[in-house]
Symmetry: C2
């Protein structure tokens, strides 16, 4: 399989992206390859400086660059030869098997939806992240910002998509799904949660384990934690805030250390017709490497096909 | 002034409530008094055990007790002689000047609204909490759970009520108000935030300082942070979760230590016609003491009158 990477994405590109791509080479697996999307001369020069042979990568020349602050749709239409637009186009055409970028998140998301389209039956895409648990395991939180104001039927789809991600990519045999809420009793919460709760309970594609409160976020209460895109984004950003406060104080701790986003690489965009991973703007080489390896897992484990089969049924 | 306390409220009542009330005696101020609501014999016995003279308190005998898990409205109607029902009734009649309870929060809230009524012009009540800031100051977060699915005009009222609390109770001369959101640019967020933003901007009763992200929660970005009751509750519970994780690890730090709810005492219920403070279920004697002193501040600083004047205008 061939895994694409946007070389110009992220605050520390291209140094961090090239370093991350080089670091991923050893783990990408025999028969697999990494495809670098970006200005050709720049990529060759960066590789030369590191003493890395060009032959170890494929390079797709993309002369245009979408900057972090550009308006997504405008940038995509004006820069068809950017790494993001080109990578997603080649992914849609099956010329690569997954694509990752730590660049303009709005452009990557909008491009993923327009180029790849949502899987038939999927109403809205979503994005997920991993939350380390006190017992050493991980939970999946979704949606973390792609779809705020999610309609109840969309929230149910998040639960289904998250369950499949948990099974296929994380290897959890029978994932439990919790609904993030302000109380644990049935009927608790805002109108959205009150409406979603019975739908999740009735959904045959998931193992629903009920409402869960933020105090259970690190207690392995559920393998998959479902939230509206607005709420999920607030929750994630609050975790990141605490991680930064802890880092600032030089506190080292097994759980807190695992809050480091670099370990996870990026946030998969789910519900579209191919694997796409969105990296953090401040992605380090380690984060870029793990983002590539995450896209590889998504590609190899057949997640998109599994989602297609389920939503076609 | 006379400040009422529900002796039977909280997981550690009556030991913690009596200890807290005794501890508050020295700071309640000359001419002021603490009124204990609960079973008379029990209160007298608890005071006797501590060697505290009964004469230092007023006691209002309340033979009934609303337990933590009871349904609020049912409990209030079936137990008119409980501490919560009696205290709120006497507060409504002006026989006491403020009332606090660490008991059944639903019953206290429902009771506050039915007994005291909302201030004319106030659409829905709200509850607030203090968030310690890295620079040593505090921000006020509201609503923390009383009104989920707040309509845009209700969110604007939260901003106004929070501003007045900040001015009258916390002594901030010209409080800035931020809207908790997933991005800082205008127009960001879910439909609720998108609708509320221009209303806050146009509101003449507050100094609106724009959207703020969770990463700014501890950076003294705003004196008053406005959120929907669902979102605010999730944010607060996540802070409490981190505080517990930090406590569990024995980490001591000037900022993290100030996340301890005991320092603040309780969450004021705002928008009703008299000062009411809701304590944490796990309230310690220190938390009870500070809850009483907080109700005293609310009573003495004329917050309710200021709110009445503003909403009457």
């Amino acid at each position: 399989m061939r895994f694409g990477l946007d070389i110009m994405g992220g605050d520390f590109a291209p140094a961090a992206t090239i370093d991350g791509a080089v670091a991923a080479l050893d783990e990408i697996g025999a028969g697999n390859g990494i495809v670098l999307f970006g200005p050709e001369t720049l990529i060759r020069e960066e590789l030369r400086q590191r003493g890395v042979s060009e032959d170890r990568f494929e390079i797709v020349h993309c002369p245009q660059v979408i900057a972090m602050e550009e308006k997504p749709l405008k940038a995509l239409s004006e820069k068809p030869d950017s790494g993001i637009a080109t990578g997603l186009r080649m992914l849609a055409q099956g010329q690569i098997d997954a694509f990752s970028s730590a660049g303009n998140s709005g452009a990557l998301l909008a491009g993923a939806v327009t180029s790849l389209k949502c899987i038939p039956g999927v109403l809205r895409p979503c994005t997920c992240t991993m939350i380390p648990q006190e017992d050493g395991s991980y939970s999946l939180l979704l949606d973390i910002g792609t779809t705020p104001d999610a309609k109840p039927e969309v929230m149910v789809q998040f639960a289904i998509i998250g369950s499949l991600y948990s099974r296929y990519v994380l290897g959890v045999a029978d994932p439990g799904v919790g609904l993030l809420n302000v109380g644990t009793e049935d009927g608790k919460g805002n109108l959205q949660c009150q409406t979603v709760f019975p739908l999740l309970k009735a959904c045959g594609h998931i193992r629903f384990t009920g409402n869960m409160e933020p105090r259970e976020l690190f207690k392995n209460r559920a393998d998959v934690v479902v939230a509206d895109g607005f709420v999920g984004n607030i929750v994630l950003k609050e975790i990141e805030t605490f991680y930064r406060l802890i880092q600032k104080r030089g506190i080292s701790d097994p759980l807190f250390d695992r809050l480091n986003y670099e370990i996870y690489g990026g946030s998969p965009i789910l519900g579209v017709n191919a694997p796409v991973v969105l990296g953090h703007g401040i992605s380090s080489p380690l984060a870029i490497k793990n983002m590539l390896l995450q896209s590889k897992k998504m590609g190899e484990q057949g997640l998109v096909d599994a989602l297609r089969r389920l939503f076609a049924a």
